[in-house]
Symmetry: D2
Subunit: 339 residues, 4 copies
């Protein structure tokens, strides 16, 4: 961490600041410039809140030199983390191919879709039970009943299941019934939820990036879960908010190499929510694999025109099947495996 | 709501779509253009999810003509809502002048600050008890103990108290002890929290705008609270995320006239969190009053250099006092009252 | 185009507005809703400025139903445009593989790089002559001398050359010496330049997307060039500005399917400028091809550490060669050709 | 400037880098941390391009400690710059109150508006002659004829005139006829134009902030003009692009205190272009004055419904007059003068 002093700072200011930060357990080194003096902090600065230094009247600003996260940091854990979900591996060259409807709507629907995506090569089933909806007047999901239907589909197909947790009161239920617990984009900084998921959830957690979360904030959200006891975090890019409104969000595929450089956690891509239009999904799914991601989460619906939510971004089973043929060719080129 | 058909759509498509939407309880009117046909939906479209129509293969896109919210809509409730907090009014020409430290740190601090801001003219006390922090390693607030200290400060000064609720498990506690329940920016789309706050919280709710929430999403979050039973919502702009990083966020003061046009709810401004620097607070607070807001939420700390959180954006009591002299002059010009 | 009236609008308003727009050469159709009346405009609305209607006191807002561009519009020109640059084709299944240094620095450098990228499979050479730099104190490019060096490299290798035009006074020079005339991101809405480029430049134009340009604004910039006489426009996505600052910009690969849907023009991707870091280039270049783009523009420097501009985003020749091996495999899978 | 080395960097790397930067005329100071080593650069780093260092394989990243601009920097020029336009002062406590139509349309219009805004208290007249329009099919301005009409309005009213320069070929014309030369938002990084405006324009320059320009980029654009010879630059905030689309742009009023802290140049606000709706102008204009700006640029049209451009954001003369009454009260409170 670097403390940049104001041009007006004097020797006493430098001494005071040195004492201030040394009390927090780091050593200091002072560089006197022609216009400004800086103080370098040496040691573990992860626990220092830069604002507690920046507030000093002699300080112009404070800059971090190293990342504020430890457990998720590739620097301290060079090997790829590989997450095992009932035998399906994600990360380290293994692709998690998650597919299914936005919302579970009835038994027939979820079982048909599950069979179909499995036949095309998916290895994990998704389906919304509790739905975060912008309008209080929209369908809010079938709730616990949907979890039971997902379990039936799992029995039928053997596919592990992934669904979103929105409320701490459902933690026990999810621990019992769900294989991957998803934290949605809108809850990425719901710290009460993150802490309890870290502490109490025993299953892998799929953490979606918030609509306007920086890479660092996203990784810090993973760090919350890890620091509270659950190391099995899968990061999922699902589009970020920009000025462009033709698409629902912009899909940030640079996140793939960046997250892999900064962390050891797997990263998967959800092209369905990013663009909000089904015809954007196949090109973006292929691009994601070519860029080196560890998996895909794709919405598939057997009858999108009757879907209770997010129909326009759902692929029909035949289009998903056709996409999966290309995905398999790309996996072969780039040496990726999928179980 | 307007359904724009593709250029390739034929008469059968038009008929099918007319039937589809008329089943949802609205009438239709078809306009045949030279290149494209459109179908206008007539009636209450609030409950129609445009995506359920957009998914049809003959549809190019769907556009809303009117807003998707009702209870918060100025069109159906032309008078300003005035919120009463223990006798302090907010809205309709009355200013809520909220001030206090980012975090409650100890009894001496909160009581000193409370006395000081009251002497300067504040009419509501703020102070963080449960703190949403980006890092799991940062100070997370004193929790329930802080609520008790806020109550002591209320006894001493008579100022009603405002603090943030992060977790549904604290709802009962907040109902007992807090006068305005704040929902933070990061929880603006935590729908589980919004529903229960609407249903169970009996006090006014201060709803902060999410960092990247549109006006419509923000109002829809208020609609969640109102539709679940609590009509006393105060909206609070606290800065939005943009490409500029010199300031923490950009303060969107156009929100003031826009929110007043679209809704009947009061809107207050938090210039402290927006800019993240104390010297931005006085000019932006004055600008907010000149633009017609219904109140201000300002961080004041008696010793910012020792603050456990957000010191750089806190005003010292003397600077707050000086700002309040200007605020009073502006209130006089624009005919605003404060109790 | 749809004119949405205010709830307070009366019959006289509707009549006045009908007359107003019918004078502009379109027919109208009125839909009377329960809360609001709308007027549909039928005919060619491309030349109508919606603001001239929106200003009417009885109007709430105006919405476009169809795109404001014609010449670039896929709807009126369904076949892919294929641009021919000295025999190298771009678009319609043909890849333009542009590579070379950010700036031309000397004869040895540009000829070495040209030979090297040609050997790896590039079919067009890039090199900056006139450079747009954020700081007036930075290297501004070698100017006309660089054009002559590019011509020497062309003689040596046969590669057509592409470089940026910043100033209308160089139009003649570029017509004589350059094969693809690039318009930079910062000049995408320099309408004086666009008009004269459309009117006077006889070569294909590569139009970079502005840092915060919407798809529509970008296509409208192409329409400026086309409407002024030059139909040979290649669109180039080079990253958009968002809140994320770890990368220079976010690369918007959804632009590929979107631009192909909306227009018939080829779209190529510049991953070097988007991310600003060389290690982001290979994954993003591969992703671009997988998403279906018509070409790549990649910075290659034989000695990036001595580059006079943008060294950190330049690939060394060996890394470019290795990337091109993967690009060729992807081209084979997806049936793309390159000359 | 601070060079942060990778954790893998060794002593030889440090030596090589020290030599590299010392050749550029600065001294160095090395701080060896527990995980990373940093090199501090001491001396004038304005002319060093951080990318030339960042490219080194041993370097993780480079951070600036001080600003890359000199002439515009408040640190080297503590007093406010006051610009004199034919006797009207802008800056240092003096308000430039610019008003007039978006486009000059005919003699009657411009003279009527000029008289009217002067009567209300405006001290400078604006009016577009050459118009940057998103569509090639929209009205592009009356060109030189408009300049002559502006001169007639100046004769009639004594108001100095301000209008936008888009093309270097009009520089001589503007030197002869115009009092303040405006550079539009879309040309803020048109470096060819900035250089020649700095070198050849003898009048004050009003430099609008680009839609997505950071404060630093905006100040660097001013630095281009100043470094080329024209020190009389007025900065103008006119709204930035964000995710919100209800308003045309977000008006960033924090720019006022930030620009005043970083530079000595005057800053004025254009609330008309920012919001794009006339009813946003009065509250935002008042907010701007309360925040401490040096002037306002406001669109006024005597018949907005017939305006050839930007009618919806123009105030009618009576609304402008009413606004100016409030502006005068605010000026009195804050001790601002206007001639």
């Amino acid at each position: 961490m670097i403390v940049v002093l104001k041009q007006t700072a004097n020797k006493d200011d430098v001494e005071r600041l040195k004492n201030l930060v040394e009390k927090q357990g780091v050593r200091t080194s002072v560089v006197v410039g022609t216009e400004q003096t800086i103080i370098g902090l040496i040691g573990d600065t992860t626990i220092i809140d830069p604002k507690t230094i920046e507030v000093d009247e002699a300080v112009d600003h404070v800059m971090r030199v190293s990342e504020p996260y430890k457990l998720a940091n590739r620097a301290f854990h060079p090997e790829d983390t590989i997450i095992d979900v009932c035998g399906v591996k994600i990360g380290g060259g293994h692709l998690g191919l998650i597919a299914g409807p936005c919302s579970v709507e009835n038994e027939k629907q979820i079982i048909e879709v599950a069979r179909s995506v499995k036949a095309s090569g998916a290895n994990i089933l998704r389906g919304g039970a509790f739905k975060p909806r912008t309008s209080p007047y929209s369908f809010q999901g079938m709730g616990e009943e949907a979890l039971n239907l997902l379990l039936k589909a799992k029995e039928e197909t053997g596919l592990p299941i992934c669904t979103e947790l929105m409320d701490t009161e459902h933690i026990q239920l999810f621990n019992e019934k769900v294989d991957i617990v998803q934290i949605g984009a809108r809850n990425m900084q719901n710290y009460s939820l993150l802490k309890r998921v870290g502490h109490e959830i025993k299953k892998p957690v799929l953490l979606k990036r918030g609509l306007s979360a920086t890479y660092e904030e996203w990784i810090m959200a993973a760090e919350y879960i890890m620091a509270n006891g659950n190391p099995n975090v899968i990061l999922c890019e699902r589009g970020i908010r920009t000025f462009e409104t033709y698409t629902r969000n912009a899909l940030d595929l640079q996140a793939i190499p960046v997250i892999k450089k900064l962390t050891h956690l797997p990263i998967i891509i959800d092209p369905s929510h990013a663009g909000g239009k089904w015809w954007l999904v196949p090109p973006m799914a292929k691009a994601s694999i070519a860029a080196g991601c560890d998996g895909l989460m794709i919405e598939v619906h057997n009858d999108p025109e009757k879907a209770l939510s997010d129909g326009p971004q759902s692929l029909r089973p035949d289009k998903y099947d056709s996409l999966m043929q290309d995905i398999k060719k790309l996996a072969a080129i780039f040496g990726k495996e999928y179980e």
